[in-house]
Symmetry: C2
């Protein structure tokens, strides 16, 4: 690419061509970037799954924290995660960029490389989008399309009383990563962090920050759960397990009880919080941005699920039980209720 | 709806429920608003058409000019227009809203009513989206999905040397409407407007402003052209016929010659510009936001096209000829070349 150019000399159509240059053709893409609409061909018998996410500078990300490559990866990852949460196959993406005047072309190049690397990892093709100028910060909007056979699609609404509540991976890492980045300005009371809190510090801090900046959508695990028929409902954890299992409970007409001591925590999370006066349970419960899967399944499927997830290279942990009573309770190891601080992020508070 | 509420008490999920309350179920929508992804079922044999548009406050619209109801209509109309330009059937939409703290809930209610009224007019169902807070102005992102049989889809790339260049409706109205709204601050040199230039002025001004604020996508005309097989290529005019036919020319590997005196102008446009020193040709050529269709067709199809368009309630006008030589020329009635001022709007200049 010619790096002597800038956005003004390149223009809107030059920018679109520059982005399109990195995109390869793919099965199912009949007409990609460059017409009024993209044209794609479906696998016969499948249904279409669509989801869209908007990411705003200084609301969802900060340019000081998010390097453009990982921002590109994450902007697509959070949408792919929604397709994973339905047990579906991600296929095509649309990307809209509103670009502030001070954004270097290098930033857009690196962002695009990151976006396309995440796309390639999950067999997703960029088929279109929109570009315009922004007077106030970078704005990203990503639409993802996927497909799946109607009977395999996993919804929020299938949980049954008596099912177990499961999560993949570990919880709270991304939320703690955010605290680490924000260290000094927004240290929560009672949360003392182990030494080496600066970016570029200890390895465990890098891991936590990477969970925030470069999340990995659980596509293979979601597909395996859909195809095996082992799960009754599923959602991805973007606002914390408490809020997100709450959506399953609400849409399934059930409730649930989550066992605090069973929440899967990473060694890095434990190492970083070992000096805290009080264990920061609010991070795995309500911290958000985990992009793990939360699903429910009959207790009869427990062994099969562990095996199925192992094949996907993913740890899965049963963390609670679905109840017929509405509402979501959290209990300690001795059965006593855990006092809840908040149920997730509200954009409008 | 309970109007004593505001966005902060309503919260993100309250707002989504409020928007969803206005949406009715529809054929093909298996799972609408409220899961990780929407699920839709396709008409067998059809291909998927997708397009996305982002609209930013003070870039694409001003709250002082665009009342929320018409802004809601337009935010969907511009996307539907992309589906119309492919000769396809619009089906489903996703709507993302980034909402500044000062935006009254009434604004969102009226916006949603407008959006859903446009959706209903074209058989489109809102199936999902995203909502978040914005620190800098309202941001809208709309994704539209449509479908069509593979052989009927009209692209930019099918124009043949010798074809006629056609446009639906009239050109330049929206661009002149913008000048009327901007009157006093951005009066172009040489363009003297007839009296009654304020909003709420003469009827012809209202018409021009309405073309800007409430454009009508040409879905029925686009579909009729696709189904009849009369057109060889098509695009919608969002950046002015010069730039948009330029895309057809480029992607078809041809050029074109546009006859200035044949550009269809509304009575309102002519009435408003009759006092100009110099006729403002740049508005119909490069003004943009017309959302009319520009298409090419064999001259043998001329009568059939006029008849076909008449059945759709749309005037269509042949305005030029496709040439084998690349580039787009504009000529006066005497055949002399018209000096071009600019070729459309560049977001990054």
């Amino acid at each position: 690419m010619d790096n002597s150019q800038n956005l003004s000399t390149l223009g809107e159509f030059g920018l679109i061509s520059r982005i399109a240059a990195g995109v390869s053709t793919a099965d199912g893409v009949v007409t990609g970037i460059g017409d009024d609409a993209a044209v794609t061909a479906f696998t016969p018998g499948m249904q279409l799954l669509t989801s869209t996410d908007m990411l705003l500078e200084d609301v969802h990300f900060r340019r000081a924290w998010h390097d453009p490559y990982r921002l590109g990866r994450k902007s697509l990852a959070v949408s792919i995660s929604d397709i994973a949460a339905m047990g579906a196959i991600p296929r095509w993406a649309l990307l809209s960029l509103a670009i502030p005047g001070d954004l270097p072309l290098d930033f857009i190049d690196d962002f695009t490389k990151g976006f396309l690397s995440m796309a390639a990892e999950h067999g997703v093709t960029l088929i279109g989008g929109d570009t315009c100028s922004s007077r106030a910060g970078l704005v990203l909007s990503v639409t993802i399309m996927g497909e799946q056979l109607p009977d395999l699609i996993l919804r929020r609404s299938g949980a049954q009383s008596g099912d177990e509540i499961w999560v993949t991976g570990t919880l709270g890492d991304a939320a703690l990563g955010l605290k680490l980045l924000d260290f000094g300005s927004a240290q929560p009371p009672g949360l003392a962090l182990a030494p080496s809190c600066s970016l570029g510090g200890a390895e465990w801090h890098e891991h936590l920050i990477s969970r925030l900046l470069d999340p990995a959508p659980r596509v293979i695990a979601g597909l395996a759960l859909a195809e095996s028929g082992l799960a009754s409902s599923m959602i991805d954890i973007s606002d914390g397990i408490l809020a997100d299992f709450g959506h399953i409970a609400e849409q399934s007409g059930v409730g649930g009880c989550i066992r605090l001591q069973d929440l899967p925590l990473s060694a890095e999370f434990l190492r970083s919080t070992e000096m805290s006066d009080e264990f920061p349970y609010q991070l795995p419960l309500s911290g958000g941005e985990d992009y793990e899967l939360c699903f429910t399944a009959s207790p009869l499927n427990r062994e099969k699920i562990i095996e199925c997830m192992k094949k996907c290279g993913v740890e899965a942990t049963p963390v609670g039980i679905v109840t017929s009573l509405p509402g979501v309770a959290v209990i300690h190891a001795d059965g006593s209720p855990h006092a809840l601080q908040n149920k997730g992020f509200n954009h409008f508070k």
